[in-house]
Structure formats: structure tokens, C-alpha cells
């Protein structure tokens, strides 16, 4: 697993999680993500490449979201992979991460279903 951090314009950062977001790298993931948030004025977490995610991984996302709210830095979670979305759905936390997810979720499901067909 890897976490790539891309720097964008005006202090924006984009965290791209690849592979897994699980307890095995949780300590490392936590530090890197918090660091990224610290460095950024605005953070995007791209989950499109997340193939594996567990409760520990979710907790890290929750933590980062909470910190972003506390510091007033916008955080966007984007490109949910099917796995990551499933976890968010099981915990019914999609709405906690903000409006974009709530709005895109049903569309996503539809498109997912279409894709399956």
C-alpha cells in the first residue's frame, strides 16, 4: 500500500490512497494523512484506488475529517472505490464526510449497477 501526496495550487494537497487502507499500516497512514492535512490549506482524499479497507482505515478517515473540521480546512473525499463505499455505507457515515458524497452516492450506485450490467 502507498499513500501518494500530490501538491496542488494554493496549498492544496491531494492524498491518493492506493491498495489498502487497513490496520496493518494504520499508524503510518494516520501520521501521513494528518501531516498532509497540516501542510495543506485544502485536502482531497482520493479513494478510487482503495482495494481493501477496514474499520481501522475508516477510523483514520474519521479522524482526518474531524481534524479538518476542527481546523477549518476543507476536506473532500473523492472517487470512492466500491470497497471504500461499502465500508462507509455499513457504518452509514457517508453523510458525515460531507455533502458531495451524499449527493453523489445514489448516482454512483446507479452507475455501478449499470456498469455491472
Amino acid at each position: 500500500m502507498t499513500i501518494n501526496i500530490e501538491a496542488g495550487p494554493a496549498g492544496r494537497r491531494k492524498v491518493i490512497v492506493q491498495g489498502s487502507l487497513t490496520i496493518y499500516d494504520a499508524t503510518d497512514d494516520k501520521m501521513r494523512m494528518l501531516q498532509a492535512l497540516d501542510d495543506a490549506t485544502e485536502l482531497e482524499v482520493d479513494l478510487s484506488s482503495v482495494a481493501e479497507m477496514d474499520t481501522a482505515g475508516l477510523q483514520i478517515l474519521i479522524l482526518v475529517k474531524r481534524e479538518s473540521i476542527a481546523t477549518g480546512k476543507p476536506l473532500r473525499v473523492t472517487g470512492h472505490s466500491e470497497t471504500s463505499l461499502d465500508v462507509l455505507d455499513r457504518y452509514n457515515l457517508a453523510s458525515y464526510f460531507g455533502d458531495p458524497v451524499v449527493i453523489t452516492r445514489p448516482e454512483r450506485r446507479k452507475s455501478r449497477r449499470k456498469g455491472r450490467r
Binding site: I23, K30, R90, N92
Partner: protein, 725 residues
């Protein structure tokens, strides 16, 4: 605390609750969907159980518990209401009532033995009900039964509350797998995840689990099955599983047990659909008065719940508060304390009359004025004191709803009972004493008055008979009417019977009044068959006598084929009456003022005449006279002048010949001693302002005697005095 008093209160309150329960059951019988009635029944049973527990009356606790279990299945919609169930619950109410009787009985144990069998058979029936209630497949019985009351939530879902242990993830367990497994058993509804336990970023250990979940779940599973899902988590997780329709109190317990902020948890539960806002508010209110409102405000402040919902809850809360205010504005007072007060007020009235008399004698204007002012105040105090004893007649009427229901069952008739004027008030002691006569009239009306359905449709009437109980105030008396739309009095049959019994001379055609009087004769019955309800001929005469002993009257209005109406007219109170004071020789007598029509002087020529005939011609009508001097065998000759007090009772008039007319008098009725109870012509005594005793005339009996004397015209006095008892 005095145990005897506690027990007394317990019995009184339980009886009230039983009455509530009964009327709610009857309502339920009419409209089985009446959720409020179900709740009322449940509440009554529950409260009785609670207070029975407090006084260590286990027999009732066990019994009400079984009732509650059955009621719970109704309330949660698992069982439906049918007439059999209502009958069973009514029987249960009766049994509870007899259990209460046992408590009051001298020999409790013997009394309990007496009703034990009945109780056991009812418990058995309740058990069958409980067993036959269609339970969701495989749902554990004990999940329902162990719930012991309190309002339950509407939600038909399981509610599962999870707080995962810190080391869960480290131990290689992931809550997700359990949730996924649970999803295989049924449908997971609303899920809410809480992570309030997560510490600040620096302290947060990413390998620890800080999550908790509140989720609703529906599926045909047992509690054990759900518990099995979380088997591995049990060690270090907090797991709470609430079955569908759990008590609100259970949820409140849950909220209290969980670590998160209570307002937030409440919000969570509402959001997850486990509780409605109303249930939450109600539950929290029950738990801590005042706190509920605050939580409501917090919830709205956070924008977490819709304003209307909270408004509705708060509105209800206000209503409940208001109800409580009404409740607390009542004071339960022992009847004997009230009686003492009334007695004292009676004495006060007498003393005040004495003062007024003394003042008049002394002739001092200031004293007279002061006495008169005091007299007015005393009168007011008297009126207020008497009003304290006034109770609405509705409670008595409501009893008949049950009676009529049972009777109709027994007779296979359909009778609708209509109650009006239930708020009409009358003296508590009267209420107790008219209950029996009223009961008799109601039974009579249903048994004899209202025809069987077949005959009714033949006569073009609706199949269901109508029994109307009405009450209203009318110039110092209360009028109670019992009317039915049945066949009316069977004049022909009554006459036949009367001829058979030799009560009417052959060939004589009696008027309506006479017919009505006939049915009030002792032993008179026209019933073709004697049922165990009525027809034995002990009845109307007893009713009449009971009413008359209350200084009341009973009149009958009957139209053949259209119905009968019995009208009871009773004084509002038994304690104090407006009297008219008359004098014979040196004694004073009181005639109830409402019966006095007029007073006239007995002219010299009439005086001569009545010595022989016993009546005078009053404006073209025969007025039978009764010389009180003779009736009471007052020694000495007649005074120089004599007066006639014309008294009217039940449409009949008679004149009492007295020496002096002394005017109106506030009469505090003192009962006669037991020794004088059989004395005819006297109904009580009173004390005059000057301390002397005056006898209160039993005007109805005397009028009757005068009428009898007139009819017999010249019969000896000995025979006149034979009164029908």
C-alpha cells in the same frame, strides 16, 4: 405512616382504577381500534400492580401481571381484540375487585380461599390468550413476557446498541464482519455510528477501536440468534439488544448506560428510527421532569430534529403538566371529616338562628343587624359546605354501562345506553343510596321494557333498543330519568293481574295514575316468566320506598308500544332543607317547604264540618284534611284559631290542620334515634333557635294517609295508621 390508612387509600384508588379500566374496556368493545382505551386499560392494570406491590399484596401483583402480558400483545398489535377477550378482561377486573374485597374482609385467608379457584381459572385463560397470540415465528416468548409494563415504542424493529472494545481491531476482529453477518439474518435498517470516544489526534491510537453503533434490525430471529452474532465481541464490547416494541424506559436506560451525551444519544435513537421523538420526550420526561424540555431544546438547537416534532412533544408535555395541575388541585378528604364539617355547619346554622331570635327579643337594632349579617354569611357557608359533598352523577351512570352490557348478553338483546347530564351533581350520600333503585330501573327497562329484536323489527323499531339515562337540576332537586324505547307498560296485563289479585274492583277502569301505582305494589309482577333478572315482584315497591326514604318521588310515563320513562325526583341533599315551621299546641313541626302549596285559615264553618267529613271544599276541589293534633295525639283542645297548610306531593294534595303558622326555617336534619325509626309520620328532627326540638313531618306518608282516610271516609284511626311497609 399508618399502614391501615395506606391500605385504605390503596383500596380506594384501586377501585377507582378498576372503574376506569371497566369503562375503557367497554369503549374498546365498541371501537376495538381505540388506542387510547387500550392504553387506559393497560395503565390501570399497571398502576394497580405497582401499588399492590407497594402494599405487599402479591395475589393482585401476580394477577395484574398476567393481564398486562395479555394487554401488551394487544398493544403491540400481536393480538387483536375480540369480544371473548373483552369478556375475559372484564371478568379479570371483577376478580381484582373481589380480591380487593378480600383485603377488606375480616378473615382474609378464608376470603382468599373463596376466590382462589376463580383466579386460577382466569389466569389459565389469560395464559391461553398469551399462548395463542400469533407471535413472530420463533420469537422468544420471554422477550415479550419479561417486559413488565410502561409505555412501549412503536418501532417494530430490534434495536442493537454496540460499543466496541478498544482492543477489538488489535485482536484481529473487525466489526464490519459482524455487521455483514448480521445482514444475512435479516434487514439492517438505520445505522448510526458514534465515534465520540475517539481522543484528540495525538492520542488517537489507530489500532484501537473507538467506534460504537446504534442500529435497527428487522428479521424473524430470536434474541439468542442476535446475541450469537456478536458472540466473539461479548467479552470486551458493550452490547445491548432491545426487542421490538421495547418499553420506552428500556431505551432511556440504554441512553443512561451509554457513555455519550444524552441529548445526542436521544437524537441518534430518533434518527435511527428506534424511538420517535415523542417517545423519547415522554421517556425522558418520565425519568426526570424538566430535563425533557431541555433536551428538546438542545435537539432543535442542533437542527437535529424537526421543530414540529419537538413542538408536538412539548405540547403533549404541557398537556400532561396541565393534567397534573388539575390532578393536584384535587384534595382527597376522608368522608367522615367532611361529615363532621357539615354537622358543625348545621350546628352553626342553629346557633345563628338562636342569635337572631335573641337579638329580636332584645330589640336592640344594632344586634339585630349584626345577627342578620351573620345569618347571611352562615347561609353562604352552609351552601358552600354542602357543595363540597356534591359529586357528579356520571360515575353512577357509568356503572350501568357495564350492567346493561352484561344483561344484554344474558338476554340476547341489543341495547344502546345513552348517558346525558352526567355532570349533574348531587350529594355523595344520595349517590350511594340511589344506586340500587337506579340499578333496578335499568334492569327492568332492559328485561321488561325493551322488546326482543324480532318483536322490535316487527314494530318497525331499530333492532337495538335504546336506554336513556338523564339527569338535571330542577329547582332544588335533582331529576333522574330512566327511559327506554320499549313496549311501554302493558296496561291490559297489569289490569288482569290486578283483578286476579283483587287490587281493582271488577268493572272499574283505573286511570293511568292508578295503573302506575299498581305496579309499585309489593309483590306485583306481570312477568310471564320469572327470570333471574326480574319478574319476582319484589322490585318497584322497593324502588319506590327507597326513593321515598330519600324524600324523593318516582313517577312513570308510559306510552304503549313506544316506551316507558321513569322519573326520579330527589332533593339535592339530605342534610339541610328549607322547612316551613308550624305549631300545634306548644310543639313545633317542620314541613319541607317545597311541598307547601299555600296556607289558609280554617273558617269556623269548616271547623264544624271537618269533625265529621275530614275534608273541605277548596275552590271546588276536595281537600282531605289531617289534624296534626289528632295524628300526634297532642293533649288539650284545639286552639282558638286553626290554619290549614296545603301540601302537595306526587300530584296529590292534602291539608294539615295546625294551630299556628311560624314561617320559613332553615332546617338542619337530625336523624331520629333508632327507637323512633318505625314511627310513621315523622322523618326526622331538628333543633330550633331557642334550643327546642321540632319534628320534621314525613309529608309524603301523611299525604298518603290523608288520601286513604278520604277514600275510606270514616274508617277508624287504628286502620288509618296501618301503612304499607
Amino acid at each position: 405512616m399508618n399502614l391501615a390508612i395506606v391500605q385504605q387509600t390503596y383500596i380506594v384508588e384501586s377501585r377507582e382504577l378498576l372503574r376506569d379500566m371497566e369503562s375503557a374496556l367497554l369503549r374498546l368493545e365498541k371501537s376495538p381500534q381505540d388506542a387510547e382505551a387500550i392504553t387506559a386499560v393497560f395503565r390501570a392494570a399497571h398502576t394497580i400492580k405497582g401499588s399492590s406491590g407497594a402494599v405487599n399484596f402479591d395475589a393482585i401483583v401476580t394477577f395484574t401481571h398476567a393481564m398486562e402480558s395479555v394487554l401488551d400483545t394487544i398493544r403491540s398489535g400481536k393480538a387483536s381484540i375480540d369480544s371473548g377477550l373483552i369478556a375475559l378482561l372484564l371478568a379479570c377486573g371483577d376478580h381484582l375487585s373481589s380480591l380487593l374485597d378480600c383485603l377488606a374482609a375480616d378473615d382474609r385467608n378464608a376470603a382468599f380461599e373463596h376466590v382462589r379457584a376463580k383466579g386460577e381459572s382466569l389466569l389459565g385463560e389469560l395464559g391461553i390468550r398469551l399462548g395463542s397470540a400469533p407471535a413472530p415465528s420463533g420469537a422468544p416468548r420471554e422477550a415479550r413476557v419479561e417486559r413488565i409494563g410502561g409505555a412501549t415504542v412503536a418501532s417494530a424493529d430490534w434495536h442493537i446498541s454496540l460499543r466496541f472494545g478498544r482492543n477489538l481491531l488489535r485482536n484481529g476482529l473487525d466489526p464490519l464482519s459482524f455487521i455483514r453477518y448480521l445482514a444475512n439474518l435479516g434487514k439492517i435498517g438505520q445505522v448510526t455510528t458514534v465515534f465520540d470516544a475517539m481522543p484528540a489526534a495525538a492520542e488517537m491510537d489507530p489500532e484501537s477501536c473507538y467506534l460504537g453503533m446504534e442500529l435497527s434490525f428487522s428479521g424473524a430471529v430470536t434474541k439468542e440468534a442476535i446475541e450469537d452474532v456478536f458472540e466473539y465481541l461479548r467479552e470486551d464490547c458493550q452490547i445491548r439488544i432491545l426487542p421490538p416494541h421495547s418499553r420506552i424506559a428500556d431505551y432511556i436506560d440504554l441512553i443512561n448506560a451509554l457513555p455519550e451525551d444524552k441529548a445526542r444519544l436521544g437524537e441518534l435513537l430518533v434518527k435511527s428510527g428506534a424511538l420517535t421523538q415523542r417517545e423519547l420526550d415522554e421517556g425522558l420526561r418520565a425519568q426526570a421532569q424538566g430535563a425533557a424540555r431541555k433536551i428538546g431544546e438542545i435537539l432543535v438547537g442542533q437542527g437535529a430534529v424537526q421543530g414540529e416534532l419537538v413542538d408536538a412533544a412539548l405540547e403533549k408535555q404541557d398537556l400532561i403538566k396541565k393534567n397534573r395541575a388539575i390532578e393536584s388541585s384535587f384534595v382527597r378528604v376522608r368522608a367522615d371529616k367532611l361529615d363532621e364539617l357539615i354537622t358543625l355547619v348545621g350546628e352553626l346554622v342553629i346557633a345563628s338562628a338562636g342569635t337572631a331570635l335573641a337579638a329580636r327579643r332584645a330589640g336592640d337594632v344594632d344586634t339585630i343587624e349584626a345577627a342578620s349579617t351573620m345569618g347571611q354569611m352562615v347561609e353562604e357557608v352552609r351552601d358552600r359546605a354542602l357543595k363540597l359533598r356534591m359529586v357528579p352523577i356520571g360515575e353512577t351512570f357509568n356503572r350501568f354501562a357495564r350492567v346493561s352490557r352484561d344483561l344484554c348478553r344474558e338476554l340476547g338483546k341489543e341495547v344502546e345506553i345513552v348517558l346525558t347530564g352526567t355532570e349533574t351533581e348531587l350529594d355523595k350520600s344520595m349517590v350511594d343510596r340511589i344506586a340500587d333503585p337506579l340499578l333496578h330501573l335499568v334492569r327492568n327497562a332492559i328485561d321488561h321494557g325493551i322488546e326482543p329484536a324480532a318483536l322490535r323489527s316487527e314494530r318497525g323499531k331499530p333492532a337495538a333498543g335504546k336506554l336513556h339515562l338523564n339527569a338535571y337540576h330542577d329547582s332544588g332537586s335533582i331529576v333522574i330519568e330512566v327511559s327506554d324505547d320499549g313496549g311501554g307498560l302493558d296496561r291490559k296485563r297489569i289490569l288482569e293481574r290486578a283483578l286476579e289479585r283483587g287490587l281493582v274492583a271488577p268493572g272499574h277502569t283505573p286511570g293511568d295514575d292508578e295503573i302506575h301505582r299498581l305496579i309499585m305494589q309489593s309483590g306485583f309482577s306481570t312477568a310471564k316468566t320469572i327470570s333471574n333478572i326480574s319478574g319476582r315482584g319484589v322490585g318497584m315497591d322497593v324502588v319506590k320506598r327507597n326513593i321515598e326514604s330519600l324524600r324523593g318521588t318516582l313517577s312513570i310515563d308510559s306510552v304503549e308500544g313506544q316506551g316507558t320513562s321513569f322519573t326520579m325526583r330527589l332533593p339535592l341533599t339530605l342534610a339541610i332543607i328549607e322547612g316551613f315551621l308550624v305549631g300545634v299546641d306548644r310543639s313545633s313541626y317542620v314541613v319541607p317547604l317545597e311541598m307547601v302549596v299555600e296556607c289558609l285559615e280554617l273558617s269556623a264553618e269548616d271547623r264544624a264540618r271537618i269533625a265529621e267529613s275530614g275534608y273541605i271544599n277548596l275552590r271546588g276541589e276536595v281537600l282531605p284534611l289531617l289534624r296534626l293534633r289528632e295524628v300526634f295525639e297532642v293533649a288539650g283542645g284545639a286552639g282558638k284559631r286553626e290554619n290549614i297548610v296545603v301540601v302537595s306531593y306526587a300530584g296529590q294534595r292534602a291539608g294539615f290542620v295546625v294551630d299556628a303558622l311560624l314561617g320559613e326555617f332553615q332546617t338542619v336534619i337530625k336523624p331520629l334515634g333508632r327507637l323512633f325509626e318505625q314511627l310513621s309520620g315523622i322523618s326526622g328532627s331538628t333543633i330550633l333557635g331557642n334550643g327546642e326540638v321540632a319534628l320534621i313531618l314525613d309529608a309524603p306518608a301523611l299525604v298518603e294517609r290523608a288520601m286513604g282516610a278520604e277514600a275510606a271516609n270514616g274508617f277508624s284511626k287504628a286502620e288509618e295508621q296501618v301503612q304499607p311497609q
